[in-house]
Symmetry: C2
Subunit: 339 residues, 2 copies
């Protein structure tokens, strides 16, 4: 019996916003397993902002996504056949399987795939709070910002996969956690479900002055640490409220992903407030992952972090869900349910 | 006999570029010395870009310069009368005497004044290479950038007091040192006298693309450390050439001191290149001064650092010389010779 795989390939590079024309859904045969290989059936595909950057051809921290190949992406699924002694059919696994229904993985290659325990943590959360996004929040908070108890931590895109974890981690460090999110529903969720002390609806503050005032109200002692997911005016507004010796972890600038670079309005604040502004990529801090995953798994397993998911149904829905992610239409971790 | 002091006061705050109307030269009596006090005759007044920031009333890292009081400023001079046991007439001293001919200093107050050794280092250099500007270069290089041998270090305003010292220190660390300065004369001096490996004349590169290309030629292995004195387009151009994990020490943004904040064109490069951009103020790192001054004194004393000076004659010339400093008209450390 030969299985048929479906995959979504990138067939052209977006100019500005990506469109359906940039993608193609194709059917390809699943190759026969060789010794040492494992066949994984994907149950969940993760959609993440970094994917937009990979679609460009320019210089960046990673190789561009090749054209006419399956789109890169994190996946969670189960082993359906194995010719590697460490894996057996039924094992729940997470890996970088891409935008497709099946992948064949070399079971001996470190870092490509790992088995996970779904006793206390649902499988899909290994793509969010207990996966790359959660570890991203952990590294930004602990390694770049290095918070002290009593300080005020702010994060944009607060109800997303990274933001949810950041809020729980900041509270666990004894900090005041303030989120920025789009719309009253997300803000209510951030405070009521995620444990943020306050959340600012940036859509209610369309100019710098108004947003900066809202931040002042939400952060009466100023801002000591800021986790940047967005860039643009939100970053400018937070910079106005940073305390002396504040730290900004730059993880994403989603506001500028689809077009011209977004400027920083007043970089002289870096000097005036003696800020440290540092970019980082979570995959360059592999030594921190075990400790991060352990803490995040405990937070989720004990119910202290209850991340929300936005679920699109079926592989064909992935591009549209991805467009929505870039516009903030998702509410929580954006996933595609593949089976 | 009562001495008459002359001083320049700030009498109004500049809107944009400062003008002569912002200053007033006044005569005031020198007060009688009290026990523990020292009377210093100023021979040299230091002019520095930070003074422009102090003239504003807004939030910054230091208190604004008060109106109708003597302008703040570093001075080098000699003791002419002393009622403190640590000081005797004739002692060469440096301190923060301000824009005036004499100052009365409390000899017991730490950090206000120190005696210096002029055997191998000319007195005026204690306001430049072996003073605050030199230590600024030292702290930015060693504490913020933390260079490794073989890396490439770039500094703007390369022939100024900070830049001169930075070049010598970077070479002493085994780095490639590349300067940015205004005009062929300054660039020739940077390479021939200060020991920079290359120097880029930013006036010959009026747009971002051209300047960025010149940086690429001068830094074939990219830029690992950048010391920012200027801001604006020069910073944007250097950011395009930063290597992964590059460090930017933000010391000044003189290009924006007189007007609206200058934006940073593409802050997403902080993420793409995983940069650390950190502002600092030399007076907040007093623990580093002794080691810095020792190294800088040795560099000057042994002729490895031969800083150049721009000298204005007489206290009344200070405002015009300061305007020139803000426009880059000085060539080397800007001083006013007071006697």
């Amino acid at each position: 019996m030969s299985l048929v795989n479906q995959q979504i390939q990138l067939v052209s590079r977006p100019m500005g916003e990506p469109t359906h024309d940039n993608f193609k859904l194709v059917e390809v045969p699943v190759p026969e397993l060789q010794d040492g290989q494992v066949l994984v059936k994907h149950l969940w595909l993760s959609l993440d902002p970094y994917m937009r950057g990979r679609m460009n051809d320019g210089k960046s921290y990673a190789q561009p996504q090749p054209l006419d190949e399956v789109m890169i992406g994190g996946t969670a699924g189960e082993v359906v056949a194995s010719k590697h002694p460490d894996y057996a059919p039924g094992d729940p696994v997470v890996g970088m399987g891409g935008w497709q229904l099946y992948s064949v993985v070399d079971g001996g290659q470190r870092g490509m795939m790992r088995k996970v325990d779904t006793t206390h943590v649902p499988l899909s959360h290994y793509l969010g709070a207990v996966g790359m996004p959660g570890v991203t929040a952990w590294v930004g908070l602990n390694h770049i910002i290095a918070p002290k108890a009593g300080e005020t931590m702010v994060i944009s895109a607060a109800t997303g996969a990274v933001g949810s974890a950041f809020g729980a981690l900041a509270k666990a460090r004894g900090c005041r956690a303030v989120g920025i999110a789009g719309g009253p529903e997300k803000c209510a969720y951030a405070v009521n479900e995620l444990g943020f002390d306050a959340c600012i609806d940036y859509k209610a503050h369309p100019d710098l002055k108004s947003l900066s005032k809202a931040l002042k109200d939400a952060c009466p002692d100023g801002v000591d640490g800021y986790f940047e997911n967005v860039g643009g005016m939100i970053m400018d507004a937070v910079m106005l409220r940073m305390n002396a010796f504040g730290r900004i972890a730059v993880c994403g600038m989603i506001a500028g992903y689809n077009g011209q670079p977004l400027p920083m309005a007043n970089p002289a604040l870096i000097l005036v407030s003696r800020l440290k502004v540092q970019g980082f990529i979570v995959s360059e801090h592999m030594e921190l992952w075990p400790a991060a995953l352990k803490e995040l798994g405990t937070l989720v397993g004990t119910g202290k972090l209850r991340p929300r998911e936005s679920i699109a149904e079926g592989l064909a829905a992935a591009p549209e869900a991805f467009f929505g992610l870039l516009k903030g239409r998702n509410f929580g971790k954006q996933l595609v349910k593949l089976a």
